[in-house]
């Protein structure tokens, strides 16, 4: 497996989310099928219902493009769900399917990738 991109930043606090997604899209263009792991504050990128009023480029629009780019390996760190106090129902509208991973699975995921980039 190629590259794992770890999303740990809030969607609009800095450019990390957007910059990481740009890398994910370009890797997909190169047929490298990147994996994305959402951890900690990064989970807030997936709460599309709370981003309606943002003046910035909407993260949700990029997520909508994932199926077109064949970006299908989306993982969410289960421990972060509790830590961020997120109701899983809020992820129902995501345009992509995701897998919940426990701590051991997160470790395994990281071991299974050649490159890891943390944003």
């Amino acid at each position: 497996m190629s590259t794992l991109i770890v999303m740990r930043s809030t969607p609009y606090g800095n450019t990390n989310a957007k910059d990481a997604l740009d890398i994910a899209l370009i890797l997909a263009t190169f047929e490298q099928s990147p994996s994305l792991l959402y951890q900690g504050a990064g989970l807030q990128q997936l709460l599309l219902d709370s981003q309606h009023t943002t003046p910035f480029k909407h993260i949700g629009n990029i997520l909508n493009a994932f199926p077109i780019y064949d970006i299908e390996q989306i993982y969410i760190d289960k421990a972060s769900i509790n830590e961020q106090n997120i109701n899983l129902d809020r992820l129902n509208d995501l345009p992509v399917e995701y897998k919940l991973l426990d701590t051991n699975q997160v470790t395994e995921l990281m071991h299974n990738h050649q490159h890891i980039m943390v944003f």
Binding site: S2, T3, T15, L27, T29, F30, M117
Partner: protein, 138 residues
Amino acid sequence: MPAMNLLNYCIIVRCGPDQQSQALSALEFTKALLAQGHNVERVFFYQQGVLTASRLRTPAQGELNITKLWQKLQVENKLELDVCIAAALHNGIVDKTESERYELGAHNLASGFQLAGLGQLAGATIACDRVVTFGASQ
């Protein structure tokens, strides 16, 4: 010295030149790789890292000029110093071509650096054994 497995590396610099210890670590790590005989496929400047490539940076006398240090390393080792073009434009780092394209009237990309697309980074993840990032903010 035991025989060492020589690898192909890509270095990503995401911190600005003012984040001194991280910016310097990226440079020193690259130097150490080259000294040990590893190949450095390319150094890719992304996010705030692109500010390293401004030839207008003028640190006070006695202060470290990380731009000049990269330029020196580039000349000595024929290093490829790629500056993400999207981040560069966003941060006001332009070469002659982009300056003319956007009619900016000036250009400031330091010699030895070149503007490049994210495709160069994607290519590096395919070609390189290791991709090492410096200055990843949390």
